[in-house]
Symmetry: C2
Subunit: 681 residues, 2 copies
């Protein structure tokens, strides 16, 4: 394998290290390397036995890992971003994950100063460990429908927390099952006979000494799952449990002592801003997941040989015919290269999301919230689109590795299993699109009725408004391309995506406003509109990054990219592949709205096939540039050095089952016996 | 949950029991029930702890199960089909699986009479246990590329079995790791310095007393996998191991004693016939998998309520507004109803495959092999299309269950994990399409050059030739539909599928023959053609079953269907949904070939949405009719009685991790402690 990968690397048309630099920047790269070194050299984080562990063993290992990580955080004074990097590399969801990921941030964001003193400080020192308990057995997506109640008792100035039905049991709560001694609990706030909807409470749930659940509280682990078995997702029921009034997180809303009067929260713009940021982080995570999957599949495909290609047989120098490496089969390229392109596209999309968020934060501190609605809507749709894409692509990459992709040693198995819930949590991917499309329809109606014309003169008119305006100016416009390479024109590409999205929006508005269609009857269209809009955004973000602009000088990463023509060249191929492969997959919609003709459809396919050829020599180099460390890959197939088969063999020989000798006689009750033939008891 | 499902069941427009009878027939139904009863009542087959088991425990359980099954087979004298039913219901791939599934059938099909006496009889009595060792670490799909060699040694009249490299190690072999004491080994037959390619040898690999590998043979389990962890897939290396000449399976080819002369096999039509049958069985398996997935998701969606639908809020009799069950959301219907339709479509496709195979067997015994090529090509493509579809649909159903779909208790997790390799084994789903399309292109060329005109006058002209002829008669024909309901016309539907497939074939032939395109450069098209052809076949098989014909009187199942107008009515809706949803997904191709216009595309969508409404009242009844037993489902979400939440809670409380108490202090080395606070050692 090593020589094959060396040959691939010799074919690079660009400097791989430069591209890595253009992705991360020198400061971030230094940080990644620094943290990686610490983790790799720590025996507690040794991953060599991870694939053989059963649930208990795995959970025990994850606890050990999380304890050690807590020590390192203290020792190295790691900040939030550094902890995130460590978490990413360690790649093992553990019992303290939600403590760091949700418990601490929620107190930080929604606690009063007093509450921070009381809970945040000990939480940061790991003196208390918390979790975030929102979802219930009967309710997830519809937070308004939660059943756990927190009733204010003026007599004692307390809340009574209660689970009225079995379905009110908190469920799925990460770190709750065996670990947390505190929880943020979302419960319906009730006072003076009124219901004010779900609010967050901080509740001690286990004894600090014995670690047993406190009286009135029933807790347990919810059992085995598709993945995430190294985390103790838990359930929890309350039986009239009393907590002090001061345990309601009270930065935004409160209950007044004695009177039980409810004090309303200010507007919710802040929490929307946070959601945008969380989603930008998820899209960054998509990029890493895609890069990781592509790295394994591309490297293995360069090493794996299967069949002699009869038309163009591969020959060694001595003339001997050898089998063709599977990366040379066009179908394999067609399955894998788009995943590389998706990873790069997500990189620029998440970057654009973070940049927009930063911009918004600046504007909002000056009182300007105008960009929030667009940002929030787009980020919902992008989370939905990209995480679904990631899950599909990881599985495509796994399957492209044939039988060996099914082995845990491929590095795909726990990776896929743990990634999967991204499609469900932080908003179910279907329900999320509702928010996106409600905003798009509203915007369309506003633009049509021109209620708010001054908005369009802004220099930073939202992209949505831009493409809606273009559509309204000429709803019957069609694509101008006449040759395959016309489709490499970025303006042609964006026009097509914008037109399709606007067409779908216009149609939905018509159905609802003029044909009185119900929202429910439009949900299938809603999903298509959100996808169309977000594919437009992804295309636009990638294209924008490749266009030289002034402000890029400020950003080291863009500067490196634009200072190296070889990088721009290869990234342009990758961008075109992303855009045109997406168009090809959605061809039905581009044709149905009349924007493309069937002969143009053929031109796109030609161009895609051409791009596969263009990218082939750089395939391995493009995944090398992602710089996914071996420590994270844990893959026999995706090794940098290509020693696939040696590693498969080495790891198989460590399988614990190999210690066992069977008694296979169907009439014998003995199953496992010792080597001397005796039954093992 | 129970009341909601009762309401659903009250809405049926047809007799569920009748539909079940129309699927299985009374004899088969009796057999299913008889076997199910035996299994359900046997404590060895108790599944209540299955989701909590680690690898060793699971493997031990599977061995116990397989031993008990062997006893029952003997006791009840079960035949091959009855064993298959038991295997299906037990739903736990075990260490004897390949013994029954491959070892015995291979000796039966390829062994001489003497070899059968020596190996088949003891194998049937489980005195020896075998496996099927073809795949190697370095080779799977390309069987010609195997490296294990079997060299004839005339001096001793033996073969020497040898693995020349690490990559020659047998790999993935089910039941080899810890169980089998015999193996069918595919090895390159070498004699007199010539290489005759891969041939099957039967080899004893473990000592019958100690169960240790024989001298010169290295064996082990290949380690953890995505699923199938209850089976010991193994590796095996040979170091110059000698076996008698008589151990080469010699029904078809042999080496002559002393001279080492090779005796060629007769034609390979027999083995092709067997492949057709195996694939028909896989498609039958797809039907079961889809039925199972749809059953869980549909029942759960009828019980799960989430959000109040503002336009059409659900009200109880007392006027109270309650949340809407998620099955009422059109998007949920759009995700799930097509899976029901796919399951029924696969039912009729696998039935047609089995019928054609039986027909062929009759013809071939009279010397007529003319239908084999078409059968073989179609069955390759259908295996590929339907197993990929099944994996996608199982996952779609799982995700449609929201967070709870991720719990093992959903019944999706091990089910999906064990089903997954169907896309890879018995022919990788991409490589399989090569065979299909080679045949289609050849047929097209023949029809065009009319080399073989008498073939078309046959009463049973192959469907492929029929649609190719239709296309050639009018390559520019277009669809005649002008209203949504025109698309319910089966003739209109079939014409569209046939035209699209023929168009793609014609285009590929042109590229290869006139533009000298290489096979490799056509692989992406190859995949599209195979899909198009097989979707045509699936549509045709479903439609044919719904059309009244004379011969149906012979088939109880078709007779029941056609004697009940209510069944025909609902099956017609299901068939239309299958066909039109497939068209909708492939809209790009139908538009690209110019057969459909963009306004027709819209009509199809309308019609699909209408069909969802048509099917809604029967959704639960259509999955009930599949008759998937609880014993197989093992699902808290898919229970017939709808007691979802009670079961989730009950099963969670049995999680073994709940026995453990943690020490969460990051500075303490103790991880798990006893309830009294002491470290557990
Ligand atoms: C591994 C994992 C870890 C988790 N960790 C936590 C945690 O730490 N804390 C916590 O509070 N929660 C946690 N969760 C819960 C998670 O947030 C919820 O599962 C998620 O929000 C989905 O909600 P649900 O399960 O209720 O799905 P549902 O809302 O019940 O969805 C079921 C189906 O109905 C559909 N549907 C629902 N409403 C509509 C509608 N209006 N229109 C159309 N379709 C609809 C959905 O698309 C879906 O297909 C976790 C979940 C998982 C899987
Ligand atoms: C759970 C499990 C159980 C198994 N049990 C057994 C068993 O009992 N006995 C046994 O002998 N085997 C067994 N196998 C092995 C199985 O049959 C092989 O894995 C399968 O045939 C695929 O071969 P491969 O792994 O070599 O894939 P490869 O051929 O290496 O495929 C790798 C990739 O290359 C692509 N590719 C390869 N050639 C071409 C081409 N010409 N054109 C385009 N693309 C190409 C493929 O599509 C795939 O994406 C098992 C496998 C699994 C996963």
């Amino acid at each position: 394998g090593s020589d094959l990968l060396a040959q691939e690397r010799a074919r690079a048309t660009f400097d791989v290290k430069k591209l890595t630099l253009a992705l991360y920047g020198s400061k971030e790269l230094e940080r990644l390397n620094r943290i990686l070194k610490i983790l790799e050299n720590d025996p507690v984080f040794d991953k060599s036995n991870i694939y053989y562990m059963g649930r208990n063993e795995l959970f025990e290992h994850a606890l050990k890992k999380d304890k050690r990580l807590a020590q390192l955080i203290k020792k190295h004074k790691w900040n939030v971003e550094e902890i995130q990097i460590a978490d990413l590399f360690l790649d093992l969801p553990g019992p303290f994950g939600l403590h760091r990921g949700m418990f601490i941030p929620t107190i930080f964001g929604q606690g009063s100063e007093e509450q921070k003193k009381k809970f945040l400080i000990p939480a940061l020192k790991y003196e208390i460990i918390g979790c975030y308990a929102q979802t219930e057995l009967g309710h997830g997506s519809n937070v308004q429908g939660l059943e756990t109640s927190a009733t204010y008792i003026p007599e004692t100035d307390e809340f009574e927390i209660h689970s009225p039905h079995l379905t009110a049991s908190k469920w799925w709560i990460g770190g709750l099952g065996r670990t947390a001694n505190h929880a943020i609990v979302m419960a319906l706030l009730k006072s003076n006979g009124k219901d004010f909807g779900p609010h967050p409470f901080i509740i001690q749930i286990r004894d600090m000494e014995t670690h047993q659940p406190l009286s009135g509280i029933t807790i347990g682990d919810i059992g085995p799952k598709f993945g995430y078995n190294s985390t103790d997702n838990g359930f929890m029921l309350f039986d009239h449990v009393r907590i002090p009034r001061s345990n309601m997180l009270s930065k935004f809303s409160q209950i007044k002592q004695g009177t039980g009067e409810y004090i309303r929260p200010p507007n919710d713009k802040l929490s929307y801003g946070t959601m945008v940021f969380v989603r930008a982080m998820i899209v960054t995570g998509v990029r890493v997941a895609l890069a990781r999957a592509a790295t394994i599949a591309i490297r293995y495909s360069a090493v794996r040989r299967q069949f002699v290609d009869k038309d163009e047989p591969k020959k060694l120098k001595d003339g001997r015919i050898v089998e063709t490496c599977v990366l040379d089969y066009t179908m394999q390229q067609y399955r894998l290269f788009p995943v590389i392109a998706q990873a790069y596209a997500c990189y620029y999309t998440s970057k654009a999301m973070v940049d927009s968020y930063m911009n918004y934060m600046k504007q909002s501190s000056g009182g300007d919230f105008s960009s929030l609605a667009d940002l929030h809507a787009s980020s919902s749709g992008l989370k939905s689109l990209t995480t679904s894409m990631a899950v599909d692509s990881i599985e495509d990459c796994r399957r492209a590795c044939g039988g060996h992709g099914y082995s845990s040693f491929s590095g795909f198995v726990t990776f896929y299993q743990n990634y999967l819930p991204n499609t469900t949590w932080e908003g179910d991917n279907y329900i999320l699109t509702h928010q996106t499309v409600r905003y798009l329809l509203k915007t369309f109606r506003e633009v049509v009725s021109n209620k708010n014309p001054e908005a369009y003169s802004h220099s930073n008119t939202s992209p949505t408004i831009t493409y809606i305006l273009q559509f309204l100016n000429n709803p019957n416009q069609t694509c101008t391309a006449t040759t395959p390479s016309d489709f490499k024109n970025h303006e042609v590409q964006l026009r097509a995506f914008g037109h399709r999205s606007a067409y779908l929006i216009a149609n939905a508005v018509d159905q609802i406003d003029n044909h009185k269609k119900s929202w429910n009857s439009m949900l299938i269209e809603v999903n298509r509109i959100s996808r169309a809009h977000c594919q437009y955004l992804m295309a636009r973000d990638f294209i924008t990054a490749l266009q030289k602009r002034h402000q890029q000088d400020e950003d080291e990463r863009l500067r490196v990219l634009h200072d190296n023509p070889a990088l721009i060249e290869v990234m342009t191929s990758v961008c075109n592949l992303f855009v045109l492969n997406t168009m090809e997959k959605e061809l039905g919609e581009f044709l149905e709205c009349g924007y493309l003709t069937s002969s143009q459809a053929k031109l796109i396919r030609f161009q895609v096939y051409d791009l596969l050829k263009e990218i082939r020599p750089n395939a391995v180099n493009l995944v090398d540039a992602f710089y996914v460390p071996e420590f994270m890959l844990q893959s026999a197939l995706g090794r940098y050095d290509g020693k696939v088969y040696e590693t498969m063999f080495d790891w198989a020989s460590k399988e614990p089952l190999n210690e066992i000798t069977l008694d296979i006689n169907p009439n014998s009750e003995v199953l496992f016996r010792n080597k001397n033939g005796k039954a093992r008891l």
